[in-house]
Symmetry: C2
Subunit: 297 residues, 2 copies
């Protein structure tokens, strides 16, 4: 909000409030298109975080520590909704607090909820996401009428190609016209997304493209030139730098590479000092690795 | 649990705790394979339910009234998670109370959450559903490894063919082998479901098949002989009795026909007496209509 004593900054001039522009600005701030996935599991938390054997206060403390440790290196964090929903309403309350905490640190938040429904229900899910996170992940199987409501006040990454073994069973099937099912989804997203472009030229409708499918990524990038790609599976799930480079456009933009376990549990392998130091180092390494791969550093 | 003073009943002998067997028993109890969809929207509640302008207490009161009114006629209720999630953690808490309330009334509950994720996240979602509802709706785009965790302690209806206009864009596309994408999903479900059969011969892995696609329903029924079909879209969404009959097997079993708005807002069209009476009458009419269509009455 512009108030009388508001001092204009460079950022005010350059960044619109379009979700794609905001995401790209967060990437530019840290100099690397990376994201940390926050998928907390009680059994893997460091001892320092355990609060009297209570799962939710422990998870809350851990997530705050992780985000504060990675914020200097990473502009985007993705929260796995399932890890909180498993604790019912109390878990959802903790998640809401964490999303607000990350935004206060200047992090652009993606709520990884993979929602998908039709009509009025999709509008309810969009209302649930609104005000909690500027970006949410969605499922496109119901068609774009299940996605449009999410784009009214925010951005959505729709599942195109997932990195799990079972994803092949459906997503790689060949259509009569020669496309794979994942490519047909890509074409739907590209078309629907063109009504939601930001000043950057990228759409508020992005795509999830798993990092373990290099050949797929190349083809999907061609079909979706104006979609931001959210690329999970980097690190622990097996993808490497070479696998994710085809997710970018030729100008080095257009993708956000996400690592989760290899960063948030980095203290398991790196025992020196506080656990948050190990997490921060892993985030910095992730950012450097991807920036180097893109020839930026 | 069998305790020393437990008195055996007919039900103990006949019904296993397999989710498909439990669902069929609930249908047999009322004599009609119908389900009421609980999709509450604040703007449509009757005045009697409004609690001091507070959305959640009003919705809570309405849903309890609906379920108590329909319970004599309907064995199954489906709760639309989105309608509660839009109110954040407080909404999820109300939903949890409502699911427990319905189960106390002997209703088999389906949590319509359309969840879908992979690996550890799918296990978290399954844990969230467990203990809240015996059945949950899921999305199969990620493959069956995203569905298996839901079958460990309950049942899941996976989206095969949806009744919304946008569903056609993907689900009707033809594969190189001549199947539609919905049929390919059906084949995945049929195969994965065979490891989870109950004493009734039906699987804990069912399918959502929209009621507005008669020809599709016939083909999907053939491909999925052991799947229970959850059939939304009856009534308000345009499907009629003739459209849903192909969803049943030749023995008149295998499907659950779901109506939502035409039952829960029946008082809009039927102003006589208490609003709950109108809802009860609409539920009875739904049950009779479907039972008549199946030639049972």
């Amino acid at each position: 909000m512009i108030t009388p004593d508001h001092v204009a900054t460079e950022t005010d001039d350059l960044v619109s409030d379009h979700p794609a522009d905001q995401l790209l600005a967060a990437i530019d701030r840290v100099g690397s298109p990376v994201c940390v996935g926050i998928d907390p599991v009680l059994e893997r938390l460091p001892e320092d975080c355990l609060v009297a054997g209570e799962p939710l206060p422990s998870i809350d403390r851990f997530c705050r520590g992780v985000v504060e440790a990675v914020a200097p290196h990473v502009g985007v964090c993705k929260y796995q909704s399932a890890c909180f929903e498993r604790y019912g309403a109390a878990g959802v309350a903790v998640l809401e607090g964490l999303l607000a905490h990350a935004e206060r640190l200047g992090i652009v938040v993606i709520l990884d909820a993979k929602r998908g429904d039709i009509g009025i229900s999709a509008r309810h899910y969009a209302a649930a996401a609104r005000g909690r996170a500027p970006w949410v992940t969605v499922n496109a199987y119901l068609g774009t009428d299940g996605i449009e409501p999410f784009l009214e006040h925010g951005g959505a990454f729709a599942l195109a190609r997932t990195s799990n073994p079972g994803g092949d069973a459906l997503q790689r099937l060949e259509l009569a016209d020669g496309r794979s099912i994942a490519e047909a989804v890509a074409d739907l997203l590209a078309e629907a997304g063109d009504a939601h472009l930001g000043a950057s030229g990228y759409s508020a409708l992005g795509a999830v493209v798993g990092a373990t499918k290099r050949a797929d990524a190349e083809r999907l990038r061609t079909r979706m030139p104006r979609q931001l790609f959210l690329v999970p599976g980097y690190g622990a799930q097996g993808g490497g730098v070479d696998d994710v480079l085809p997710c970018f456009n030729s100008d080095g933009r257009g993708a956000v590479i996400t690592a989760s376990r290899s960063v948030i549990y980095a203290f398991d392998a790196d025992g020196g000092g506080a656990w948050t130091d190990a997490v921060g180092r892993a985030a910095r390494q992730l950012a450097t690795e991807i920036a180097d791969g893109l020839g930026r550093s």
